[in-house]
């Protein structure tokens, strides 16, 4: 466990090293980046193997030091089953992201420096137990995202990057107002998560603090109607950045809702339950319908992310154990599957065909020219539509199960979303990989063969999606243990400890 904070430091040191990496060869920079990412993954796996949750499942302190006594902020890192799950996801996405950016050669050193700076922020958010520290890491993650998209992106990159940065910053402004209010109304002496959750602001104040915190974080999770940054941002971003955006950055938002907004305002949860659940389910349906009519392959995946994150948000609002469990599971699962889909579309297809237009791809006979890609997309598509055997199935099932009791109508609508997911996935699958025989074949020239990093990354992600789908008990056990801890008990409908 004690190795977890080193993921942050490793990423920071890695970012600095890679920025000033000597020599002219790009290969060594890539190898170095892969080394840092794999290092972070090994640190996480080491921690995961040693992980022994406390009997009540609460956060295990990893580091704690006095930082700014003037406002009562400490440098306090801690982890429980939920943070560990998301740290694991982050280090997996980091490793695969490096593999999928193997073809980048434009300003390579800066690319990896910003990449690992972003990751350091993400690891930091997942491991912070002090809300000031959490907010600092949350903001550290914003600026690198902007540059990753604006410099290395494709379609409309400057627009997409600025939109993403401003949405994130407005979200974090709302969070900051909420945090300061929670800090002040609990006596203004501490930012410690456990302390603030124990004291809590007066119920009347919680009623407005909660929506500020929840919406502020949910903007980054792509909650409808604040999701519009997500499709444009994902489309504009270079492959590795869209993998990180969909894979981990959107999870920052959902994690913030679960870890900060809900424990801080236990008395306001039920009052806001229906409004937020409605927004989540609208997001599920809207994302799915929007994905069904896109012409750009990456927009399909972008909107499907909005839809899938809707499930995570819906799970959070159920306030039941099953729903919350499903929500965290969905964060993990969507991180893996969306990463896979963006890798296939952005790296394997777009970098070779130079188009993402579905009607153009239709005539390219990709199945015959890139059978592996077709197979991989088929598997990823099945996983994305929630096929049993993949991680997405368990997550969405658990969310639906949890939401049935508090709001059956919303649960039914969300279930329609699962069907729609099958619809848009099959649509792109048919258009791109299995078009009608009579469509004019245009591309016959051989495409560049797939390279080993792409193959490794793809197989790695598929293996994880399958493994978690078949063996969910381990991960579910971590999540369940953490959800039953005194800190999180209000979120699963239990009373205050």
């Amino acid at each position: 466990m004690i190795s977890l904070p080193w993921t942050i430091y490793l990423c920071l040191v890695g970012a600095a090293l890679l920025r000033f990496w000597p020599g002219r060869s790009d290969g060594s920079v890539r190898a170095g980046a892969l080394g840092v990412a794999v290092g972070a993954l090994l640190l996480t796996l080491n921690a995961a193997c040693q992980f022994e949750p406390l009997p009540d499942g609460s956060l295990i302190t990893l580091t704690k030091a006095e930082w700014i006594p003037a406002i009562g902020a400490n440098y306090h890192l801690a982890a429980d089953g939920i943070s560990l799950t998301l740290v694991l996801l982050t280090s997996i996405a980091a490793t695969v992201g490096v593999l999928f950016s193997w073809n980048i050669s434009h300003r390579l050193r800066e690319f990896f420096a910003l990449y690992f700076l972003l990751l350091a922020g993400v690891f930091g958010v997942f491991l912070s137990a002090d809300l000031f520290l959490l907010f600092v890491f949350y903001e550290i993650a914003i600026v690198p995202k902007y540059f990753l998209i604006a410099i290395w992106g494709s379609t409309n990159r400057e627009y997409g990057a600025m939109k993403l940065a401003l949405y994130s910053f407005v979200g974090s402004a709302l969070v900051l107002i909420g945090l300061l209010a929670a800090h002040v109304f609990t006596g203004g002496s501490s930012f410690d998560l456990a302390t603030l959750a124990l004291k809590t602001a007066p119920a009347a104040q919680q009623m407005w603090i909660y929506p500020l915190l929840f919406i502020g974080f949910a903007i980054l999770a792509g909650l409808w109607p604040f999701h519009t940054w997500a499709p444009t941002g994902h489309v504009a971003a270079p492959t590795a950045a869209s993998m990180l955006l969909a894979g981990v950055v959107m999870k920052l938002g959902a994690y913030g809702c679960l870890r900060v907004a809900m424990p801080l305002c236990p008395d306001a949860l039920t009052a806001w339950q229906i409004p937020f659940a409605s927004l989540a389910v609208i997001g599920i349906l809207f994302g799915a319908f929007a994905a069904m009519v896109q012409d750009d392959f990456k927009f399909v995946i972008g909107y499907s992310s909005v839809s899938h994150m809707g499930f995570a948000m819906l799970g959070l609002t159920t306030l039941t154990l099953a729903g919350q469990k499903g929500a965290v599971m969905q964060m993990f699962s969507h991180g893996i599957i969306a990463g896979l889909l963006f890798g296939i579309v952005g790296r394997m297809i777009y970098d070779r065909t130079h188009t993402r237009d579905l009607s153009l791809l239709q005539g390219m006979r990709l199945t015959r020219r890139m059978p592996f890609v077709a197979g991989a997309f088929l598997v990823a598509g099945l996983a994305s539509m929630g096929m049993p055997g993949f991680s997405g199935f368990i997550a969405e099932l658990s969310v639906l199960q949890g939401s049935w009791k508090p709001f059956p109508v919303i649960a039914l609508l969300a279930a329609v979303g699962v069907l729609l997911a099958a619809g848009y996935t099959l649509r792109v699958l048919r258009m791109v990989f299995f078009p009608d025989e009579d469509s004019k074949g245009r591309g016959t020239a051989p495409l560049d063969p797939l390279t080993w990093p792409e193959l490794t990354g793809t197989l790695f992600l598929i293996a994880i999606a399958l493994y978690i789908g078949l063996q969910p008990a381990g991960l579910m056990g971590w999540i369940e243990g953490a959800l039953k801890s005194p800190l999180m008990r209000p979120c699963i409908g239990g009373g205050l400890p």
Binding site: I68, A70, V143, I151, L166, L180, A181, V184
Partner: protein, 459 residues
């Protein structure tokens, strides 16, 4: 009267004045005749070391002012805009001495005298570059606005004297403590806030700032934007602390809200880096004033405001250092000149990024903690007015990210205009200074307690 005590109390000012005289004498009597080409370095080194001596002791507002003066003196080496070297450094030091005197003053009239000493030096400094008509015009504009603001402030002070019979801070605080807010107190409050709003470039009294920032020599603009802000914020906080809080808070809220909105929105459309910094200064004046909007039973958050002013001054001085580099490189301060700076000089690009992101309030840079601490301290009083103003300030800081990122977009994203452009020329002294300022911004943000601990609030 015990003169040794008097000297001890004003040691910093005396050091600065003596240093000013030494600089003038050395420059006029020795340097002009013997080594004319070395006038700038010698005067700058003398000024900086004078400020260095003045900085001995606990790091408080006066030391911060001396430190910023030393930075500006070093910065002046990069832009030798005038032949009146001795006079230029003399004016810098006299202005610094005025600011320090103002900070030390225990009495409103003394503080006013210090403020005017500094302001008069500023007017001359801005217009010192006589050959450029814009500089003279900016100086004249600044003088007119400054004169009006001084009149307002003095009128406000006279009303305070009428209400309390004293101009001593402590006595005023006591006299106002039990007094119900009278119409005269409101008039005085408005006059004082108007006077300070001019000095701090808060909207709607900011009109001099864009011209002065743009047309005065870069080091002078850096000086006005940094050292004078520290002194101004410090004095305003003390005056508000001594004044009738209920009467003055509405006026402060009004000016703060206007500055936040106008500064941030107007900065978006600027095409010159100096004008952008001027409107960002208007916005930052708004954030500072938020710190004074707290409930009336709450102490003034002196530590938070001081931290904010100092870190803002450091980041702004650094940004003006880059304005100077940009001006030498392209001959103007247009933002286009920054295009592709990262390809030509990654080090300068990184420095600019640190200063700009600190102004934008991105952690772990000092600007973030400054804002955070000011907001947190104001909210502690729990008044709903403070919650409203703070929320507006936080949301407007999200807007501000847009124009700060526009600057960084030019530096890091856009390609440079012509490929063969040489990297900008930067002297070693400027580079060391900018690096030191950037390090200070970074470290103060990473470990704010260090700077906070040094300030024992005098209130």
């Amino acid at each position: 009267m015990n003169y040794s005590l008097l000297i001890q109390g004003h040691l910093t000012e005396l050091t600065l004045i003596c240093c000013a005289l030494i600089v003038l004498i050395v420059d006029r009597l020795v340097m002009v005749r013997s080594w004319p080409s070395h006038r700038y370095p010698v005067a700058a080194v003398l000024t900086a070391s004078g400020c260095g001596i003045a900085m001995c002791g606990k790091f408080q507002a006066d030391e911060a002012i001396a430190a910023m003066t030393a930075s500006v003196a070093i910065l002046s080496l990069g832009e030798k805009f005038t032949k009146q070297v001795g006079e230029y450094f003399l004016l810098l030091l006299v202005a610094a001495a005025g600011l320090v005197f103002m900070v030390h003053a225990d009495d409103l009239l003394n503080a006013f005298l210090g403020l005017e000493t500094a302001s008069l030096s500023f007017y001359v400094l801005v217009a010192l570059d006589r050959k450029r008509a814009e500089a003279v015009q900016a100086g004249f504009k600044y003088f007119l606005y400054g004169g009006v603001s001084a009149a307002c402030l003095l009128y406000g002070l006279s009303l305070i004297y009428g209400l309390t019979g004293s101009l001593n801070f402590a006595e005023c605080t006591q006299a106002f403590a039990g007094m119900p807010p009278s119409p005269i107190a409101y008039v005085a409050a408005v006059m004082i806030v108007v006077g300070f709003a001019f000095k701090l470039a808060a909207a709607p009294f900011h009109l001099w700032a864009p011209d002065v920032y743009r047309h005065s020599a870069t080091p002078v603009a850096a000086f006005i934007a940094s050292a004078s802000k520290i002194g101004g914020v410090y004095l305003l906080a003390r005056v508000v602390g001594a004044f009738h809080r209920e009467a003055i808070v509405p006026a402060i809220v009004a000016v703060s809200v206007m500055s936040l909105i106008l500064g941030n929105l107007a900065a978006i459309s600027q095409r010159s880096l100096t004008r952008l910094l001027a409107f960002s200064a208007v916005a930052h004046a708004g954030y500072v004033l938020v710190g004074l909007c707290g409930a009336s039973d709450q102490p003034i958050p002196m530590g938070a405001l001081f931290y904010y002013a100092v870190t803002y001054a450091i980041a702004t001085a650094g940004a003006f250092g880059l304005v100077m580099v940009l001006r030498r490189d392209t001959g103007s301060d247009n933002l286009e000149g920054l295009n592709g700076l990262n390809q030509r000089s990654p080090a300068l690009a990184l420095l600019l990024a640190i200063f700009v992101l600190s102004l934008a309030g991105i952690p772990p840079l000092a600007g973030f903690f400054g804002k955070f601490y000011v907001f947190a301290s104001v909210l502690r009083g729990g008044s709903s007015l403070a919650i409203g103003v703070t929320s507006l300030a936080i949301l407007m800081s999200a807007v501000s990210l847009y124009y700060y990122l526009q600057v960084l977009k030019r530096v890091f994203v856009l390609p440079q205009k012509d490929e063969a452009q040489a990297p900008p020329q930067v002297s070693r002294a400027t580079m060391i200074l900018l690096t030191a300022l950037a390090l200070a911004t970074f470290l103060a943000g990473l470990y704010p307690q260090g700077l906070l601990r040094s300030l024992a609030p005098p209130l």
